[in-house]
Every structure is written in structure tokens, then in C-alpha cells.
Assembly symmetry: C2
Homo-oligomer: 193 residues x 2
Amino acid sequence: MSLRYALIALLTAGPMTGYDISRRFQSSVGHVWHAPDSQIYPELRKMEAEGLVEAQSVDDPRGEKRYYRPTSAGLEVFRAWMETPLKYTLDRDPAHLKAAYFEWASPEAAKQALRDHIARYEDLREQWAGQLTAIDEGTSDVLLARLADKDEREQRRIREYKRFAYEGLVARADAEIEWARYGLRLIDELNQD
Amino acid sequence: MSLRYALIALLTAGPMTGYDISRRFQSSVGHVWHAPDSQIYPELRKMEAEGLVEAQSVDDPRGEKRYYRPTSAGLEVFRAWMETPLKYTLDRDPAHLKAAYFEWASPEAAKQALRDHIARYEDLREQWAGQLTAIDEGTSDVLLARLADKDEREQRRIREYKRFAYEGLVARADAEIEWARYGLRLIDELNQD
DNA sequence: CGGACCATGTAAGCGGTTACATGATTCT
DNA sequence: AGAATCATGTAACCGCTTACATGGTCCG
């Protein structure tokens, strides 16, 4: 149920179409939250019906564009969500599940799984670190829109919280990579003659 | 779709009832994979219908017990899964999403969110570390059943892979705790007058 | 002129959650 | 006597994935 909060969070930076959101869910914010078009458009419609966002239709040659913005009711539920404790879901981790049973795989398959793990987190690490530099260098248009009309102290708060979130993700990526590298050495050690 | 593989993985240690599995999904293996009763029983039935597991009914005073064991076909699909690359799903991380937008929360709510994060991962860390000591001290009956009839080298492989998986999880917990502790300091710093 | 991009969706299905249902046995 | 444990499920719902559908515009 966090999708709608992710949507409002994004929309607090300024009005956007479903398409804009979709693209951002594949890049910037997408590295914290992702959803496909097929989920975004209906959810925005539902939120509109519930009065959490309002849309302004603009006639565009390529079709009707609907710019969404959060309503005050929408901002209210977002703030309420921010004040509410998260409920953490239980663990379900295919990569670690597999690793726990590597004795059932060939050493080569086990190593390949870890190499994939490394490749995956190196990729994510790069994207998350990219967000950090975008924050520092002010090359993110969403962030710039968000910082406009804020005083210096509030700007700093916003920037530091974003940094904080992405730093955590970078650290996680580093930990996953280190773990998988250790695993590669372990597999070699356990399977040498 | 990993549930069935988690089930077969568990059953490779020896025959078990749905209830046995359910309990283990709340303790030992449950720290890598979890599922509720309402998912386990139907899934076992489905797998039985597909010939991946077979059940032996035992008449018990408290009701009929059904002991499941993997069939050779079941072991085959499990091995095939072990050899197949995982498809990683895209990111959806409520805790980091929230952290990225902490400027919308009161400093106290933000701090509480991080304290909850710490409490959650301290709890998990304890359970994962507990699995490590159970592996080292041989106090896990599932693991002991798994090690029976294996030669020394294979026993070592099994034990080391389990250690490896849980070590990764403990490291992850440490990273999450450290991140959240840093966040607590950051919030204080950003909100002092 | 064809392919990438802009723009908005529908439909089927699945994995997972939450709540409910039932009944016996062992423990305190 | 009541609570916890053993034991096996059903039913409704929901968030998400995958695949499909449509049509216009910009760029090389």
C-alpha cells in the first residue's frame, strides 16, 4: 500500500503526468520505489476518485495529458503516513535462500549466482551513487523543483534526507557485493581437491 | 514462485507435515523464507498433484497427519532451480522511501521510524546470529538430520553454505542498524536551534 | 519511412495477506 | 477448567506482474 504514498511524495515536487511519473519510477525515484505504467495510471485515477490528487487535463497533439497534483487531503494522508510506524513484512529472500542450499548446485552454478548478485548490486550501486552526485551537484530537476521557494535551512534538510536515504542504499549494495565476493572464495575453497 | 523451492529445500532434510513446516517457517528457515499456514497447506497439495512431493498419511489421535517428502521429480526441479539464474525484482523499500522524505515528518516521528528500524534489525540480527550458533554447536535438529549419512567433506560444505547465508544476513542487519543510528544523529543535527 | 518516444490505459492471473473455521490433545 | 499446542485447511481480497491495446509525434 505504499505505492500511493510514493506517488504523492513525487507529486509534492510539482504537477506531473502519469507518463512523467512512470519515467521517474524507472530512473531517479525508481531506485527506491518502482511501479509499471499498468499500476500507475489506474492508481492515479483511484486516488483522484478518493480526492487525494486532482488532475488538470491539457490538450496535447499527442493525446490528452493529465497533470496531477496532490490535494490538501492528499498531503494530509501523506503526512499521516509519515507519522505512522511502518509495518515490516516478513523475510523472503531468494538469493540467501539459494545460498543456504548451494550444496544442491554445481559449484559453477553457485558461483554464477554470486556473480549475478555482484553484477546486480554493482549496477544498483552505480545508480544510487549517481543519485548522490545528482543531489550534490544539483542536476536533478525534480530536486531543484522541490527546493525552489524554500529557505536555506529547509533546503539543507531536504537535501540531507535524500542523501541519507541513498547513502543507506549504497552501503547496502557494498555489503551485498562484499558478501558475494566472500562466497566466491568460499566455494573455491570448499570444492578444491 | 520461490515458495515451492523453499518447501522442497526444507523437505530434503526429511519427511515433515505441513504443521512442522509451518513451525520451521516461523523459526529457523523462517528467517530466510516465511509463509503462513494458509499458503503452505494448499501449496503442498498442489505440489502433490504435480508429482513434486508425495504424502504419507498417518492416523494420529489429533487428526490425520500427512508426512510429505520430495519425489525424484521434485528433487529434479529443485536442482534445476538451483542451476537457474534468479530474476531479481525491482526495488520497493518503504523504509528508505520514507527516509528520503523525512522533511515531511516531524523530527520526533522520523526518529521513531529509525528507532523502529533499529529494533526490527536488532531482533532479526539476534535470530540470524542464533542460527549461526545453532549451526556451530549442532543444536539444530533439521541440520543434524541433513548431515546424517553424509561424508565429512559434504558435511562441511553443507555447514559452510548455511553459515555463509546467515553471515550475510547478520552483516545486512548490522548495516541497517548503523545506517539508522547515523540517521538519528543527523536528525538531531538538522533540527537543533 | 521506420523506429524511438510521448501518452494512456485494459485484462488476466498469481503470489501473498488476513481472517475465519474446526476439532482433538496436552499442559498448567 | 481453560489455555496452549497439534493439525489441516477455506475464502476474500489486494498489490503486483505480464501481456496486450491504441494512436499520435519527433527525429534521423
